[in-house]
């Protein structure tokens, strides 16, 4: 049985590259943290707290219009590989997987809505984490989806709420709105022109922060950055979402300018790097994941600059997800040793590039330095 069949788009709708600026902004995520009255949370939650929270949540699902008909996966009941796939698809956090080498905690679960790209993690650091993950830059839309589900849940469940502090959370950095909105961006132009540090400092001054691919504590890989609001208290959700939206649009503008500067001042080397990255991905027989991400960044830049016509954002997004270890194991139908994993990864990338991206139109020596228009 495949647990993913009951999840809309298998939880991969955000790969479709449909939102605004989808080549630069891979995805938008909005999440809120909610806790129930009368139960300890996070590190203080005992097994009976967690089980009671899951029970309450389960019964609210039956009564809520927006949750009924969805799919609830209890983490201890799904296979280790499925759990890792959920994590690699960014549908559950590392926390929900449990301690390295041991089973996830009883009561931890994730629920997927049947109709909208929204899920609820149960018994993470907070009792409930509602998140919406969508493609491209769509902050308001993602917030609205989460907001509606929050209203539905709040009608059924007694949330821990304080008239001064707002929604109470385990960590004081989340209290108030409990909302963290984040935008996952590809910023090679700013990195190559060394303007990235300044851009990130600017974000800091606006009360925003940045992280790597998998959220808190993870490193920046392949020029991918996750920009999110730092402040959760003292401002309304709409205000925070709109503030982030404005800042992200500013960063996109700077990124586009940086890319033009690269073409103007270093076209030869930029093109060479892009084609080398493409060539490596197209023909390599072994690829580590970080190495892949670095080359993928070059190819993605080439596609955005229309130097590699024929490639689609969707194909590149897909490569990022399906070349992670648990996904490769799922495809192979068995566990893979790291070096085997690297070979499977390279083979997957070759296949996608061979079938989904014909760049031959640009690969004509007689074209010299000028890239042809996208057909």
């Amino acid at each position: 049985m495949n647990e993913f069949d009951a999840i809309p788009d298998h939880g991969l709708g955000w790969l479709e590259a449909s939102g605004e600026f989808a080549d630069i902004v891979l995805s938008t995520r909005v999440r809120i943290a909610r806790n129930l009255q009368g139960h300890a949370f996070g590190v203080r939650a005992r097994v009976n707290d967690r089980e009671a929270v899951l029970r309450h949540f389960r019964s609210s699902v039956e009564r809520s219009d927006s949750l009924r008909g969805g799919r609830l996966l209890e983490m201890p009941n799904v296979s280790d590989r499925t759990r890792r796939i959920l994590h690699e698809r960014r549908l559950v956090t590392r926390d929900l997987l449990g301690e390295e080498g041991s089973a996830p905690l009883n009561g931890t679960a994730v629920h997927f809505s049947a109709r909208e790209p929204v899920s609820v993690m149960v018994n993470e650091e907070d009792h409930l984490r509602v998140q919406s993950l969508v493609s491209g830059l769509r902050l308001r839309e993602a917030w609205r989806i989460v907001d509606r589900l929050d209203d539905d849940l709040g009608r059924e469940l007694p949330f821990a709420y304080h008239h001064d502090f707002g929604f109470l959370t385990s960590c004081p950095t989340n209290v108030g709105t409990g909302m963290r909105a984040s935008v996952f961006m590809h910023l090679p132009g700013l990195v190559l022109t060394k303007e990235i540090a300044r851009a990130l400092r600017g974000l800091g001054e606006l009360g925003l922060t940045f992280r790597g691919l998998y959220g808190e504590g993870s490193e920046v890989v392949g020029n991918f950055f996750q920009v999110s609001n730092q402040v959760t208290l003292g401002r309304s959700e709409e205000d925070l979402v709109d503030g982030l939206d404005r800042a992200v649009r500013m960063v996109i503008q700077k990124e586009l300018e940086a890319r033009q500067r690269l073409l103007r001042e270093a076209r030869g080397v930029t093109e060479d790097r892009i084609w080398r990255a493409y060539g490596t991905l197209r023909y390599a027989r072994s690829l580590g994941f970080e190495e892949l991400m670095a080359f993928l960044s070059g190819v993605r830049l080439g596609m955005s600059l229309q130097l590699l016509p024929g490639l689609r954002v969707y194909s590149l997004n897909k490569i990022m997800i399906f070349t992670q270890p648990a996904h490769l194991e799922q495809a192979a139908g068995r566990d893979l040793a790291p070096e085997e994993s690297d070979a499977h990864r390279a083979s997957y990338v070759r296949r996608v590039l061979a079938t989904e991206g014909d760049v031959s139109a640009a690969d004509d020596p007689s074209h010299g330095e000028n890239a042809p228009e996208k057909p």
Binding site: Y161, P172, E238
Partner: protein, 164 residues
């Protein structure tokens, strides 16, 4: 990847430079990068919550009536909180209220919620009124920011809650 300069330690700084139309990339360990006068490349900017908590303790004497107490519901002490940066239950927020308020001002620059007003199941009349006030405020903001789809939704919500 090993540092290109010393060849001993793992490279953590990956520098890409464009000089005279030439792009070159260096992979260096933290120490060699520092010797070259390079700032460490941006990795994850973790929120320095623990630093803030530590600074607070140094900056001004904490309220001992708060820091000496223990949450009656979950048993968390202020010392536990200082170790993990995590509270244990909704009651902790009341128990450590004074110190928490100081901490919130440092983290968020504010200590008062300005977002959604929550309406519990089976609300009292005053809770209902607070919720309506909150929704009206959000409606006003939605109209101001020309988010009309949102405004329409909020208007419907207000209508459904208003006494007939």
């Amino acid at each position: 990847m090993i540092c290109e300069k010393c060849g001993a330690t793992g490279a953590v700084v990956h520098l890409t430079q464009i000089v005279d139309n030439q792009i070159s990339t260096y992979h260096l360990c933290e120490r060699c990068a520092a010797e070259k006068g390079l700032e460490s490349a941006p990795t994850a900017a973790d929120f320095p919550l623990m630093d803030v908590i530590a600074q607070m303790a140094e900056a001004s004497p904490p309220d001992t009536s708060v820091t000496g107490s223990e949450c009656a519901f979950c048993g968390l002490t202020w010392r536990d909180f200082r170790k993990t940066g995590r509270l244990g239950c909704p009651h902790c927020w009341e128990t450590f209220g004074g110190e928490i308020t100081r901490l919130l001002r440092r983290i968020h620059g504010a200590a008062r919620h300005a977002g959604k007003v929550y309406l519990p199941p089976d609300p009292s009349a005053s809770e209902m009124e607070k919720r309506l006030d909150g929704l009206r405020l959000r409606l006003e903001r939605a109209v101001q920011s020309e988010d009309f789809e949102r405004a329409a939704e909020l208007r419907d919500q207000i209508r459904s809650l208003e006494p007939a």
